[in-house]
Subunit: 211 residues, 2 copies
DNA sequence: ACACACTTACTTACAAGTCAGTAAGTGTGT
DNA sequence: ACACACTTACTGACTTGTAAGTAAGTGTGT
């Protein structure tokens, strides 16, 4: 009885909010600006006001959409994983050998996406500090990716030794992440795709031989 | 003639400054505190006041010694390279094969020095941003280390192909750096020394075979 | 041996700026 | 009519860096 909100289209218990038409694209603009700003300055030094300015509003407007700076960071990370091309761990669909090629392709693509690479390099570095809002994200991301890579390497090489597989997966992830930092510091000094491809070949050959 | 400053004990042009007795150890205390604070929070989030407190003085006292926050960071980086155990690139003395073992030993030592590892992980991540005060330091450090490792790998393997050598060196540095981040996020998930040792073996074997 | 000149090593207080977050109001689409 | 998408205006917490003052040390001439 007290609940007599007439015929509000089944919306009884839910406080769902209906976004306006352009809301989705505005939020996306903010997320892209966040990639840019956090990528260029890191999370702590990156200012909400700068993100807002790039998205064409004030910093309070950004907070209206994401609640807090931390909320924006988390949303940005998830957005990138879902939508961006380089969402490596997400596409768990890709089958065995093709997945390894996909890794190399992604590295190659990253060569043309300096901003994204920089954002992830800076953020993953920051994330190891105590209580950093992106800590859990990077921890999960790494362990999921490691499991996936270990699985594929096992498939491809026929090797079944869990430890060797996990070590190889860790090494491969480390190579990809580590090279990005070197490349950002000195773009002409390292050719990421070639080195990653060579590393994968070495790893697979070694695991196959030991199988 | 106009220069007739009587007999002021020869001290005409020199304005030499002599530090007091305990100064050296006070500065060292500040540098250690800086490692701690910048390691735990990063450079941008790490506050001078916290460094000062850990060193037993006020933030103005710290500035007296190092001029600016940036000056403190640079001093800290140089101090660590000079004095700490892990000064990999500094000891260019170590000969060929022993150097590779030295790398593995250093990684093993780092396992017991979480603070130092964290400081370098956070700082090297931050350093790729535009105009970061540690940018040049990490750039130089990486390129010196790469040249050194490439040289040693050439020695050990007999391989003389510059590009293969440089690629292998880049890969090795990437592995070491990348593993540190993974280890910091999930200490039990990766055994750094074993993976680094295995990587070196693989690299050397491969280069030797191709020679 | 001792006072004088000067430096070093700080402290307290403050200036000037930046930052995230909040509250309250305005306009617009549905 | 009303919720949503903002803006303007502001607060409070923190920042680095500076200015000015003080106590203690160092060195030199006599």
């Amino acid at each position: 009885m007290a609940d007599t909100a007439p015929a509000r289209t089944a919306a009884a218990a839910d406080r769902v909010r209906k976004p306006q038409a352009r809301t989705a694209e505005r939020r996306e603009a903010i997320l892209k600006a966040a990639m840019d700003v956090f990528g260029a300055n890191g999370y702590h030094k990156g200012a909400l006001a700068e993100v807002a300015e790039q998205a064409g509003m004030t910093h309070a407007g950004v907070l209206h959409h994401f609640g807090s700076k931390e909320g924006l960071l988390v949303a940005m990370l998830k957005y990138r994983d879902g939508n961006e091309v380089a969402g490596v761990p997400a596409r768990a669909q890709t089958e065995g050998p093709a997945f390894l090629q996909h890794l190399v392709d992604t590295v190659e693509e990253n060569t043309h996406r300096r901003g994204v690479v920089q954002a992830f390099a800076v953020l993953s570095g920051e994330s190891v500090t105590d209580g950093h809002p992106a800590h859990d994200y990077f921890q999960d991301r790494t362990s999921v990716l490691r499991a996936k890579i270990a699985g594929v390497l096992g498939e491809v090489s026929g090797n079944r030794d869990e430890r060797s597989l996990a070590d190889a997966a860790s090494a491969l992830i480390a190579i990809m992440d580590g090279l990005q930092v070197q490349w950002l510091l000195e773009p002409d000094a390292v050719e990421m795709p070639r080195i990653v491809a060579a590393t994968i070949d070495r790893l697979v050959a070694d695991l196959t031989a030991a199988a």
